[in-house]
């Protein structure tokens, strides 16, 4: 049995996910011996303390208990999930529902079958202190952040999360894992500017609320009283949150086996599509990341390079997209996200050797950008995305910070931004940024040759 969270705000008597997954398969076997079946079971705790106007105003926590079943009977597939205690009656009812659905729906000619038995990489991004973190632990870090901001108004969150996951299917695949996640993310505010600082890890002890509060306040003060800047193309230094944002679009709409199959992706394996400074992989084994090393279909996740020194080398697959492409799944299925295809879980962009000061000194005339905000894709094939800057943007002239500027709107192809010749330098920093679809991004800052700012945020 995998050890789960046991804090005062967490589980009392929660069922063991491995046992629940096995029990679900037994029930399905008894009711429909011909069914191919898989079960994924998770339980844990998630707690988040929010502060705004320098006061904790919402403090939430929950016990999670989730089971999802997927079956196929003669190619007729159905999924059913339950958020609730998987006691005998509920599990029985869940199985009845999924069997009933599968028997009456049309066949799925593209059903790829179940994941075969395969070992899962020995990954354990788990920290007992994070699993046990109390509301007081989170409040203490927030108090440090607020105090360190030196009287500036602050807002943000402190998250601690622990989950245990088990997978079993009727083809004999068994896998289980556990992960903790901790994050502190906040802003400090002057009357005219915001500055942000954040950190994430599987260990709550990995970050210091005081240091983050000081950084946010320093950024806010340095960004105060910004002035307008004429829109146009500028060199940029993108800090880690921005880089993670860019990569998220490249993965979801580019390195996604489904997008490739549908002709909606720019990705062409074997071609030099990126700057030689770009080496990019999905890697659950990196010790600084979070999550478990298997996907919602039970397929193990292994380190997978999608770009090596600028050359596109692979795409991500689920079992369905892999079957269509005639290759093996890479383990990137997300429960309930079939329509999205294969999504990344542990993106790692190889860091370089430049400190932030060195990056800035290499910019003749450009912008230092802290965060990107509300980025939305205009066309997946060209990767043209619009969005805004946020939480601090500065003009750099002659290798030095010249002045803070007001937020700008951009309309920019994220692929072109990293194309051959477009990456001037890669930072030596390495920050973990939590993204959508439970993905995480371990990334450095980047100095890019050109970014297309199309307007000022205030008109």
């Amino acid at each position: 049995m995998i050890e789960g969270p046991t804090s005062t705000e967490s589980r009392t008597g929660a069922a063991d996910p491995v046992e629940v997954a096995e029990r679900a398969l037994e029930i399905i076997r008894a009711k429909a011996p011909e069914a191919e079946a898989e079960a994924i079971v998770g339980s844990g705790t998630e707690a988040l303390t929010r502060f705004a106007n320098s006061v904790i105003h919402q403090n939430v926590a929950e016990e999670t208990s989730h089971i999802a079943l997927r079956i196929a009977i003669d190619g007729r597939t159905a999924s059913s999930s339950l958020d609730g205690p998987p006691d005998g009656e509920a599990l029985d009812r869940l199985v009845d529902h999924v069997l009933e659905a599968a028997r009456v729906r049309p066949p799925d000619p593209d059903w790829p079958g179940l994941a075969p038995p395969a070992p899962v990489p020995p990954v354990d991004h788990w920290d007992q202190a994070t699993a046990h973190a109390s509301p007081d632990d989170r409040a203490t870090r927030i108090a440090d952040f607020v105090d360190a901001a030196g009287g500036l108004e602050t807002a943000g969150t402190c998250l601690t999360k622990a989950s245990v996951v088990a997978f079993a299917n009727s083809a004999g695949q068994r896998s289980s894992g556990r992960t903790t996640v901790a994050a502190l993310d906040g802003i400090a505010r002057t009357g005219t500017s915001d500055g942000s600082a954040r950190a994430a890890s599987h260990r709550v002890a990995a970050f210091d609320g005081r240091l983050l509060g000081e950084r946010a306040a320093q950024k806010a003060r340095a960004a105060a009283d910004p002035t307008d800047l004429e829109p146009g193309r500028y060199e940029v230094i993108l800090e880690a949150q921005c880089v993670a944002n860019v990569l998220q679009f490249l993965f979801i709409y580019g390195f996604n086996g489904r997008a490739v199959e549908e002709g909606r992706s720019f990705v062409r394996v074997g071609e030099t599509q990126f700057d030689p400074a770009v080496t990019l992989r999905d890697d659950p084994t990196d010790p600084e990341t979070v999550g478990v090393a298997f996907d919602a279909e039970g397929t193990p996740k292994r380190p997978l390079h999608v770009v090596r020194h600028g050359v596109t080398s692979a795409v991500l697959h689920t079992r369905r997209t892999a079957a269509k492409a005639g290759v093996a799944s890479t383990g990137h299925a997300i429960e309930g996200a079939d329509e999205w295809g294969a999504l990344p879980s542990n993106v790692v962009l190889e860091a370089g050797d430049r400190s932030q000061d060195e990056l800035i000194s290499g910019v003749e005339r450009g912008l230092l950008v802290t965060d990107l905000w509300y980025t939305r894709i205009l066309d997946p094939r060209t990767q043209v995305v619009t969005g805004l800057t946020r939480n601090g943007v500065w003009l750099i002239e002659g290798g030095r910070i010249a002045r803070p500027v007001r937020n700008l709107r951009f309309t920019q192809s994220f692929h072109e931004a990293l194309a051959p010749g477009a990456v001037r330098a890669v930072g030596s920093d390495r920050s973990l940024v939590l993204g959508g679809f439970e993905g995480s991004y371990l990334v450095p800052s980047l100095h890019l040759a050109s970014w297309n700012f199309t307007g000022g945020a205030s008109g």
């Binding site: 705000e9 403090n59 939430v60 929950e62 869940l94 729906r105 607020v146 509300y374 199309t454 307007g455």
Partner: protein
């Protein structure tokens, strides 16, 4: 269920809460999606649990358990109070609640055709059939889906609110994508997200996906070779009602959420350009702009009988004759603003804390038809069906893209335009609105994917909308 919520509230009060409420929510959901003639996914979800909210000092504590046992309910109440107490480490002024008369009531949305009684075979056949039709009419990728949510909830508060509700929501969507040499083009019906309401399966039948499948496939194919929307610093822009729903949602709905205005969402969702001191006098738009938040509209996706604090559904004026006059609020934010609760607090599930959400935030009809707007426009662009949306954290600067546009010359609809986009600053944009669609074009659009809060809550909101014309708008921004 009332025994459970009462026990949970009592445990929170015993733990020191000066106010507490508890919600049991049971949800069943179904989604089915087809792609290129094949039903690829059929997913049914169930969730059941209790969430308890406890107010101590300046903070809410909230605790949820996916368990409907009596012991779990009491534990959730105790933990909610315990979590709230921990907030004292970083505390402020005591959070107050706007006064409310405790209500007892039951409410159910109207559902003429039970969606669970429609066979999966019929549902699947419909989706497969429309995707095959779109393929036959030029789509390279054809997708269709339907979704059903069936929610029962029971609320009890320490002030004596006692409310149960049963809300059924249904809807469907389809899209055709054409893949070209260098880009893709998509057309969706009824809108980018489909169309959803607090209605039964009759809504899906009324949408009539089969009748619209050929048209959107042909339009997607035609867009690949259509001229690009020209880049113009100022032109007349007519928006169809689907895009107007998005425009209202992003640039009005979120901007008037009182929790944003008060800074409670500053770190993530953002704040608002609106200053509470100017409510009642600030000009938000032209005199033709009238916006309400009305949770009582039959069948609209943001309708309910009571919000998740037990406030009875009602209509709130947001913008009247162009002047900003109201906000979306709950009891805590309303108390700070010195107003009555707007009854706009909802939780996305038993495991999420109730927060300010849009109800049905919509534009009241004017007196023009779409054809009159086109006829009155010498030189402009008509755009419809949202494709991309981006707006700053103060809800002031937006850039939206649509799936399709048409040139307007000399009062006539001309060539189809691809990749139409427009950008603006909210009060200037709304201030330029000079023609507003009439009641016959009033559509209650439903948005089932409104993200807000931390942890993220995906809310269901409604947006009554009509076409409208705006003057001097920048269009055709590209990368």
């Amino acid at each position: 269920m009332y025994d459970l919520v009462e026990a949970a509230v009592q445990a929170a009060v015993d733990g020191g809460a000066r106010y507490a409420d508890a919600r049991v929510m049971e949800t069943r959901a179904e989604s089915m999606s087809a792609r290129n003639g094949v039903v690829e996914a059929l997913d049914r979800q169930q969730s059941a649990g209790i969430g308890v909210r406890a107010l101590i000092g300046s903070s809410w504590g909230f605790f949820a358990v996916a368990d409907l046992g009596a012991e779990a309910a009491r534990r959730a109440g105790e933990q909610a109070a315990s979590v709230a107490r921990a907030s004292a480490r970083v505390s402020g002024r005591e959070l107050l609640l706007a006064a409310a008369t405790p209500v007892t009531g039951s409410w159910a949305s109207e559902c003429r055709e039970d969606p669970w009684a429609v066979t999966l075979a019929e549902k699947g056949d419909r989706l497969e059939s429309v995707t095959r039709t779109m393929l036959a009419h030029g789509a390279d990728l054809a997708e269709a889906s339907h979704r059903i949510w069936d929610t029962r909830k029971w609320l009890f508060s320490s002030e004596g609110h006692r409310v149960d509700q049963h809300i059924v929501e249904c809807g469907a969507a389809m899209s055709a994508t054409a893949v070209g040499e260098n880009e893709t083009q998509r057309r969706s019906y009824p809108g980018i997200r489909g169309q959803y309401g607090t209605r039964g399966w009759e809504l899906v039948r009324e949408l009539d996906l089969p009748a619209n499948a050929p048209r959107i496939a042909e339009e997607a194919r035609a867009l690949l070779t259509a001229p690009a929307c020209p880049a113009l610093d100022a032109t007349d822009l007519i928006l169809g009602s689907e895009q107007m729903a998005l425009q209202i949602h992003e640039s009005v709905g979120h901007a008037v959420e009182l929790d944003r205005i008060l800074g409670w969402e500053a770190a993530f969702a953002g704040t608002s350009w609106l200053d509470l001191a100017q409510m009642g006098s600030l000009r938000f738009g032209s005199g033709r702009m009238n916006i309400t938040a009305d949770a009582t509209l039959p069948g609209a996706l943001g309708s309910f009988g009571y919000d998740d604090e037990g406030t009875p559904a009602h209509a709130v004026d947001i913008v009247r004759d162009g002047i900003w006059v109201g906000v979306l609020s709950g009891r805590d934010s309303a108390a700070l603003a010195g107003i009555d609760s707007g009854g706009a607090v909802r939780a996305a599930g038993f495991n999420r804390i109730p927060m300010v959400r849009m109800t049905n935030v919509g534009l009241l009809p004017g007196d023009n038809s779409l054809e009159e707007m086109i006829a009155a426009t010498d030189d402009g662009v008509l755009m419809d069906t949202n494709r991309s949306w981006s707006i700053d954290d103060k809800r002031l600067n937006f850039q939206f893209g649509c799936e399709i546009g048409w040139e307007i010359k000399g009062g006539k609809r001309g060539r189809m335009l691809r990749n139409p986009t427009y950008t603006g600053i909210s009060p200037r944009f709304w201030g330029s609105m000079d023609m507003v669609g009439n009641r016959s074009e009033w559509t209650f659009w439903g948005t089932p994917n409104c993200g807000k809060g931390q942890p993220m809550q995906v809310g269901h909101t409604g947006h009554p909308a009509v076409p409208a014309r705006f003057r001097g708008i920048r269009v055709g921004v590209s990368g």
